[in-house]
């Protein structure tokens, strides 16, 4: 039985639809109930919904054999997993944003507010800029407006929230999308089933391109 961790929310539902189309359906998942785990013994597959940021942990620790995680989470936590496919869903970008007209003269330590301290630290280390990271858990856009930080490093989808708060993207760091990941050990012992799923999902991704 292959354990699949799906991210709760709209992205997870889209991903499940892809698994369904790939022939790994589990009708009970569509029922309106409070169950946490959904199983289709015939297809040898078991799904469960988890918080999107926890998918990589479930997979890395082997509680799930495969799962779907955002590239942002993979870059931030760097779990020891295989990254098998870019599903092309949930496309956005990790970017540096600042108040419109902001200019970094490089004379002072740059204060960076973010939910992704590791990604931010790596980005500025690459360009050799000294920074002070302010780790926040939400409403990141507020930080430069109230003077808590000079810039933010965050996920930007359409840029509307930034625009409405008089912020603008200064620099793109990396494109983000949903990825199919696999536990390294589980991959070696279940590779036939995982490859079957991978091939079927890949066909869907290629046809969408």
């Amino acid at each position: 039985m292959l354990n699949v961790a799906l991210p709760k929310g709209r992205l997870g539902e889209k991903v499940y639809a892809m698994f369904e189309k790939a022939g790994f359906e589990c009708p009970s998942i569509r029922e309106n109930n409070r169950k946490l785990i959904f199983e289709n013994p015939e297809k040898q597959v078991r799904y469960f919904w988890v918080k999107p940021s926890d998918v990589a942990i479930y997979v890395e620790r082997g509680a799930a054999d495969i799962g779907i995680a955002g590239k942002d989470i993979l870059l931030e936590y760097q779990p020891e997993v295989y990254e098998l496919l870019d599903l092309g869903l949930g496309k956005c970008r990790m970017a540096v944003a600042a108040p419109v007209g902001f200019y970094d003269d490089g004379e002072r330590t740059l204060r960076v507010a973010t939910k992704f301290p590791h990604i931010a630290a790596n980005h500025y280390a690459r360009i050799g800029r000294e920074i002070d990271i302010i780790k926040l858990n939400g409403s990141i856009e507020l930080a430069p407006i109230l003077g808590l930080s000079n810039v933010i490093v965050d996920i930007v989808e359409t840029g509307t929230t930034l625009q409405e708060n008089n912020l603008a993207v200064v620099e793109n760091i990396v494109p983000i999308s949903a990825r199919l990941i696999a536990n390294k050990a589980a991959f070696h012992f279940n590779h036939i089933q995982i490859e079957e799923i991978l091939d079927a999902l890949k066909k869907q991704v290629d046809s969408n391109d």
């Binding site: 082997g62 020891e80 997993v81 295989y82 870019d86 390294k184 050990a185 070696h188 012992f189």
Partner: protein, 367 residues
């Protein structure tokens, strides 16, 4: 001796020791501490540069061992023409990647140091397989060859950033980001296809060799010939189908060269065995010899499902202040002779799970 009292990792240690002795490996015992400076000079070889340190009585900064291989190399001497073969079973202290906390890790392994030839490589891989087989029949060993990868990368690009990223993507089996990287660096379509082959070609050794031969045979002739010869020797072993080729096994190429491998046991979420040939590390440490070895992380065996005991003891023997103590002793011995384990107490301890409670009266008889 009753082997049932041994934990799985303790049984494994005995089994491994006996296996390695059969092949002439000698035990290697080392100090728990090493000079901190030695590790810092070679910190890239370690999985983390966070090391537990303390001051010796003379003020020298010492470290609790985060690694065994470095100590073995440091303390050995070169003997041209000879090989030093040692095995060990040591606790090491490292930071856990997931929790960021220090952990004590029970590690067993072996090192073969000297003029490494194909037989040594075969013997090391074979012993790695036999080590896992001692623990469970359900195992897999993935072998890669850094010489093949290095030769292909040499042909494609000399850019260190490109090479590092490409290797990281191959280790992740991440074909999509590898293609994107090749596009970013203007790598040609043919070279990009060859590099992607290292993600998609894995599994049965013969099939992998055929594919690689067709893909990049002329680029890495020497290394592929070594892989072929090793594969042929492994064909004759009982664990032949469990040893596969997979280029996602990538160790630090500044230290490792040639064969590298990783072992997995079904039921354990991480690789339990890791090893490879590390001639480059030997050169960095001014040793003239080559070396190959592997380590097994025995603490991971806890993850294997096992038969948990239903009870803590078979018999809880309850006596009181008035009971004759010699009668208590006689009853304990009698029950042990019946093959039971006995816990003599005056009161029932909280949370104790016992199969049977026996109460002794004043005269020592059951009541």
């Amino acid at each position: 001796m009753d082997e049932n009292v041994l934990k799985r990792e303790e049984k494994a240690v005995f089994g491994l020791r006996s296996l390695y002795r059969k092949y002439g490996y000698l035990p290697y015992k080392m100090s728990k501490f090493e000079e901190y400076e030695y590790y810092i000079r070679n910190k890239d070889f370690l999985t983390s540069d966070r090391i537990i340190t303390f001051n010796d009585t003379n003020g020298k900064l010492l470290a609790l061992k985060p690694d065994v291989t470095l100590s073995i190399i440091k303390n050995g001497g070169d003997a041209p023409g000879c090989k030093q073969k040692v095995y060990y079973n040591e606790n090491i202290y490292r930071v856990s990647g997931s929790t960021g906390q220090y952990r004590e890790i029970m590690q067993a392994g072996l090192e073969c140091i000297g003029d490494i030839d194909l037989y040594d490589i075969y013997e090391t891989v074979s012993l790695a397989a036999q080590s896992l087989q001692l623990i469970s029949e359900d195992f897999v060993i993935q072998i890669s060859h850094l010489g093949v990868l290095a030769a292909v990368l040499d042909r494609i690009s000399g850019d260190q950033k490109f090479r590092q990223s490409a290797i990281a993507y191959i280790a992740e089996k991440n074909a999509h980001d590898l293609s994107r990287l090749c596009r970013e660096y203007g790598i040609g379509a043919e070279e990009s296809r060859i590099l992607s082959g290292f993600v998609t070609i894995y599994g049965n050794r013969e099939w992998v060799l055929d594919q690689l031969e067709a893909l990049c045979g002329s680029w890495a002739e020497e290394s592929l010939a070594q892989l072929k010869a090793l594969s042929k020797m492994l064909d004759k072993t009982e664990f032949n189908p469990k040893i596969l080729f997979d280029f996602s096994v990538v160790n630090n190429m500044n230290y490792y060269n040639g064969i590298v491998f990783k072992g997995f046991l079904n039921g354990i979420c991480d690789g339990i065995l890791a090893g490879g040939q590390y001639d480059k590390l030997m050169q960095k440490l001014q040793r003239k010899a080559g070396a190959i070895g592997f380590a097994i992380y025995l603490d991971l065996l806890e993850q294997l499902p096992g038969n948990r005991a239903e009870y803590d003891v078979d018999v809880l023997l309850l006596y009181n202040e008035e009971t004759d103590f010699s009668c208590v002793s006689r009853q304990v011995e009698r029950l042990i002779a019946e093959g039971k384990n006995v816990y003599a107490q005056k009161q029932i301890p909280p949370k104790l799970r016992c199969r049977q409670i026996v109460r002794l009266g004043k005269d020592g008889a059951e009541c």
